[in-house]
Amino acid sequence: MRSQAMFFQRRAGAALADPQLQKKFAGLKGKFVDSRARAVAAYESDFDELRDAGRDIRDRVVANLDVWLELFEEKATQRGASVLWAKDGREICAHVLAIAQRHGVNKAIKSKSMLSEEAQLNAALSAAGVQPVETDLGEYILQIAGNEPPSHIIAPAAHKDLAEVADLFAATHHTPRKTEIPALTREAREVLREHFLSAGMGISGGNFLIAETGSVALVTNEGNGRMVTTLPKVHVVVTGIEKIVPTLEDFATLMRLLPRSATGQEISNYVSLCTGTKGPADADGPEHTYFVLVDNGRAGLLGSDFQEMLRCIRCGACMNHCPVYQSVGGHAYGWVYPGPMGAVLTSLYTGLENALDLPQASTLCNQCGVVCPVRIPLAELQRKLREQQSERGLRPWSERAALAAWAWVARRPALYALAAKLGVRYLNWLAGGEDRIRVLGLAPGWSTGRDFPAPQGRTFRELYQSRQESKA
């Protein structure tokens, strides 16, 4: 997916002005935030201890990523899978297309993989004559809506409402329009069944890769994941290199965190562990398994100020709880990953200069850091990105000059006192005797939706001084 992150401001404005979307966002927030809160409250022991354990597991992996990846490769190969490496989106596409060609595939069914979005894999497949069919209901909706990008990492079509989906289904499937969710789901199943049976290849992401067994773990609520990974003869797993966990036990710990943080479920409806190719005693499974392990910017975070970001297990809790995401939705962020984690990842993976707004578009309230199951300090990482922007001269000079002037004056108390006094006089003049300023000329952004309370009159400093003098 080509990044549109430079248009954040404009896209956010459009989302704010769309009442339909706003209604949708409000509902979504209620759903995810409340169910997570319930799940955390109902958790039988201390959820914060569990978060510590999750963080430690992820830190252990990230600290020695090469070791765990080698072990994974060894174990996966022993079980008959092939392990391929891709450094960027282009290489992902090249690998997948080569695999498709080798096995004479002309249709690929897909379960959710954000990396295939990073790589624009569907477009590459289509261009090479391989039909990609999304089977996650949300992704399927987006695909038939003209390949719209996802707006949430676990609920990709979160921005669409029922009526839109009903219209879309009727138009695409040439069936009578239905508005009941079960009926729509059934219709999608019927359409997809045909694809499940006729596809030569299944492409999936992976929630975790387990080093000790060489397995990929898929966590879904729809069961499409297991069809994609077992029905076709060829299964291709496309995941980031950081998705690895050492052992099955570690995986079990993270599985206590992931669904609770994501949807508020104790466990998701389906958890599949796929290990290697179909053996002689197996009833089903692919004859060929490929792992495409992707860097696409990840290795660059190792040893950097942003290494902690590699702990992310893609639960979506940070965006669900983010006041900015709740207001503008995922599309405003302009790339694959939205919300706080997206603000960090997009800046790092697509280049700070291509995402100038994203590190700034945060109140740094740190609600994201509080809910992140692996304790990623997301607000702090966004702040560090601002530092890098400043160091690399990526902020407007006017902004930097204003800050520098402010800091310069703030180090000269007498001058500062004078500036404060004059500033307050000016604001009072703007208020014109009222208790508020309706248009704040110097900061028009403030007054589009708010008044600015007028200062009380004189600075504390002035009043305090005269009080001390009258005391003396």
């Binding site: 800050l403 402010w406 800091a407 900061a443 952004g445 007054s447 589009t448 504390f460 400093r461």
Partner: protein, 245 residues
Amino acid sequence: MRVALFVTCLVDLMRPSVGFAALRLLEAAGCEVAVPETQTCCGQPAFSAGERGAAAALARKTIAEFEGFDYVVAPSGSCADHIRHRYPELLADDPAWCARAETLAARTWELTQFLADVLAVDTVAGKYDGSVTYHDSCSGLRGLGIKAQPRRLLGRVAGLTLKEMPEAEACCGFGGAFSVKFGDISAAIAAKKCANVQAVQAGAVVGGDLGCLMNIEGTLRRQGDEATRVLHVAEVLAGSNGKVA
């Protein structure tokens, strides 16, 4: 006990009544309060903007002014949090300054936390006829763990009823420069906060950070709500309820 009052730049400029209320509360609790004259800004805005150099320079200046006191108290969770957690980190490369930063950090408190946890204040002068709701500002809440202290103290104000609003912990959308750079997003978040304030039909919304309060007040007034008062917790506890004493 010698306590230095860190007035904060917003209080100095916009709402001196908060500074005087803090002063009165500390004096009533038996502190010998000084207001160092040369204090300006703690440097948090520069730090949040990514201007590390400027933030470090202001940190050094502030440390020099405040380090002689037993305690430093600010009527602001975000400034107190900044001094407490960021100064040592900002000056980590400079062992001598870092040590001074750590000493200051350990002595720096947000006002309600200081009153409730350090001084164990049990009675306050404030009187308030009616109900208020409390907004938890982000830095105080998540940075310093301030939640119970202001509520406990407000509970001691004669005549005051505390009504909890839905999502009291949700950010009001202020975020310093964010409120200006992304005015429309900030205003949308503030509007949700104000809807929650209005939902409990309290006479006033009270908080511990002036930035958030100005954001909430400006939004309420723009929406035509002239009735809901917006007060700093210090003003309510001291009984000045918004008047410059």
